[in-house]
Assembly symmetry: C2
Homo-oligomer: 459 residues x 2
């Protein structure tokens, strides 16, 4: 059981990476960052690294999950952003491939899991149209307890359940902050169970609370092992020396690469289908935490770019190899995939096929990862590889904690608050104004100052 | 039936966009680009815009599709990159939501469609394990006729079909170049039908050949209308004046934004679940076509970044609003979604819910798009909106052609060959060397010059 980072291909000035001396002399910067984060953590302001050891939270989730075991064929998350990305990433990583397409038997009686992470009427109508509501549980997840998209979905589901003569409390569970928003009082009114996202845990850092663990538990995923893997990584990272702290290595290297070497884009590229949706989860984490104004008004933040190996060798790698030298690539490799498929010997005289026989697909995907990393290094394109022994609960928990801690450290290094998202407020206010929400008068006035579309600038 | 681009939010120096005079004075640059592309097209080198009117190709696809109607419950694409991204985007855009999860009846007897776009053994074993091979068609798609990942998958499927006592020719069809690679002679050996990707059409420009149209036709999608929409857009773009040519507008604006205003990242963000997978298709098109060395050895190319509205307002928009000013955002909006879902009035006294009642989800998603575009513009972040009347075959065909032509023009503007991918060769050769493919000796020697992982640089 181990998670290792090999960052040989990040170091070395000539190869386009970070000079070794620069990396070594960044120790003080990381020590400060670690100390800054530790203050937030010990002050109770930032809880994501500590809640993974909170027995009461785990008990709340397990006891609710136990109470509904076997009752539902389908579970639907109503949630957007951090409320959907984490649980979807866990499903893809830790349930058998193609989970929702499997028969009830093949799923071992566990439910399918859907995420309604948008408000396109087409998708919602289609999903609600094909579910048997009497056998469906809706998990309404909103940290703030007021997210417009999620509230809209809830209003629709609430009406549908009522029309079907079903009891709301039997088909809905809320996951929200205990101290803010509409869901908490609504839970009392409706008799609906409400599970906690602790106030010190923001939405995009919430996958290891009920946000992710309840859906996971309902699918039969071992959430204790998930949390143990995360706690183990948090302990490993409890050291102020960057070179011994995996999250410290990741944060410091990316920050140096971006701010001193123009690597403005952070490509996240697992070579593993189960880890496919981790990339989208990481994109939110890195983008929304770091894409900020500093206190000096500077606009900072690396842009995360999701990719998948070997697939995107046939899509994006051309750009990574020959395009602007503004990227780092983070590979995630897997040592033991738990099974493998042999490529048979056939058509031995056909040069495009003959050499493949006798290898396995696992070998092929690993070789492609190493070949791509080597080719990028050869061309002076810095990259690093996070290796997981296996894709199981313990390692996925550890990977999540590694990336969450790295994000928190990076916030300190950039000098931004990694835990807010002030930049989305203006768009929200404009939407409120256009929808006529009371209290949006100021936004309405600001909206009215925007120039009309200019007919010259259309085609 | 119309596709419009509103680029008001791209123009205007003070607002972070392109000064109007600069845009207008770029007419000559675009005229040259248009002429350069027209020469490639008329010289028969680049065929993607013309094959949409090729009756013989269409006939080939329709006649094969007709001949297999009703025979398969599942269709599996073995293909990677352009061989999978296009057909998957068409399925998501033009088949009912959640197609593969629908019952046989709800699918009207049409098959499910799967794409094996990677070589992770976990995924392949799971899919092959749950399909009824006797009711499955495998579409093996490779422009080059020798893609390692696809050939490996084919070898495995070939063996499985044989073991099941099934006739290869009844369960496999090839889509490949008529004049290169292993699949064409294999087709003859095995008696397998082989459909054409014309030599003048590269993989990432091939979605409107059999690569996309065969899978689409098998799902009951109207491929004639798809091709007509594309042909209509090609005609609209047959004009050398940038401001009258939708693809010219798109290409020229992005090129100016990148090369003169530091907008190195092109965010592609449809506000439509059916268009979700078009973003991944566009990423390959833009990245692999433009991420290149110029003749002068300069590394160029905007980095495309996929996003989805409203979902990614809760993931990436914080970065777009307050992060580095290095992005343009391309919204895709839809006027008529074909249906809508009303948000019921309920909990009128709860401020987070009350204002939503009486609106529809379609209104909500549209308002969010306008609000986000307005907020970005207000903060000096340039963006444009491509509007489709509807998401149907005609409009999707038109959108595809718009973006393909824009990519071809952009290649001319950047001074790169938009139709090759030399940068992926080194990684391929390294993989061949590691797999022991004959003829990879030079790559093996180069590989051996790479430094070993340095144990100092790992944690």
């Amino acid at each position: 059981m181990s998670i290792r980072i090999d960052y040989s291909n990040m170091i070395g000035g000539a190869a386009g990476g970070i000079p070794a001396e620069e990396w070594m002399s960044s120790a003080a910067a990381f020590e400060n960052a670690h100390a800054g984060f530790t203050r937030l953590r010990e002050g109770g302001k930032v809880g994501f690294a500590d809640v993974v050891g909170d027995a009461a939270l785990l008990e709340q989730v397990e006891s609710y999950a136990d109470s509904v075991t076997g009752r539902y064929a389908d579970v639907v998350i109503l949630g957007i952003g951090g409320s959907a990305l984490g649980p979807v990433a866990l499903r893809t990583a830790l349930s058998p491939s193609g989970w929702n397409l499997l028969s009830d038997d093949a799923r071992g009686g566990f439910p399918r899991l859907h995420a309604l992470d948008n408000v396109d009427p087409v998708t919602i109508a289609a999903l609600l149209g094909r579910l048997a509501l009497a056998k469906t549980l809706f998990i309404v997840t909103s940290k703030s307890g007021g997210t417009a998209e999620t509230m809209s979905q809830f209003l629709i589901v609430h009406e549908r359940l009522g029309n079907a003569g079903l009891t709301i409390a039997d088909h809905v569970v809320f996951i929200t902050d205990p101290a803010q928003g509409a869901l908490r009082p609504l839970a009392a009114t409706l008799g609906v169970t409400a599970l906690d996202i602790p106030p010190s845990v923001g939405g995009r850092f919430s996958v290891l609370t009920a946000v992710g663990t309840l859906p996971a538990a309902l699918l039969g995923i071992d959430i204790r092992s998930l949390l143990e893997g995360a706690a183990d990584m948090a302990r490993r990272c409890d050291v102020a020396r960057a070179s011994e702290n995996p999250a410290g290595v990741y944060a410091t290297l990316q920050w140096l690469a971006d701010t001193r070497h123009g690597k403005r884009i952070n490509v996240f590229m697992p070579y593993s289908d189960p880890l496919r949706d981790m990339a989208a989860w990481f994109v939110q984490l890195w983008a929304e935490s770091l894409g900020k104004h500093t206190a000096d008004g500077e606009s900072v933040g690396q842009t995360p770019l999701p990719a998948l190996g070997a697939t995107d060798q046939h899509s994006q790698v051309q750009l990574f190899m020959e395009g602007p030298e503004d990227k780092t690539v983070t590979f995630v490799s897997v040592s033991d995939r738990g099974m493998d498929v042999r490529i048979p010997h056939a058509f031995a005289d056909v040069k495009e096929l003959g050499y493949l026989g006798g290898h396995t697909l696992g070998e092929l995907i690993d070789v492609e990862q190493r070949a791509t990393a080597g080719a990028l290094a050869k061309r002076g394109r810095p990259n690093l590889t996070i290796n997981l022994d296996r894709v199981d609960e313990w390692h996925v928990g550890g990977l999540i904690m590694l990336l969450e801690l790295a994000t928190a450290y990076a916030g300190q290094l950039y000098g931004v608050d990694a835990f807010d998202q002030p930049g989305v407020e203006l768009g929200k206010q404009f939407a409120y104004a256009l929808l006529g929400r009371p209290g949006a008068d100021a936004a309405r006035k600001e909206w009215d100052t925007l120039p009309e579309p200019d007919s010259r600038w259309s085609v």
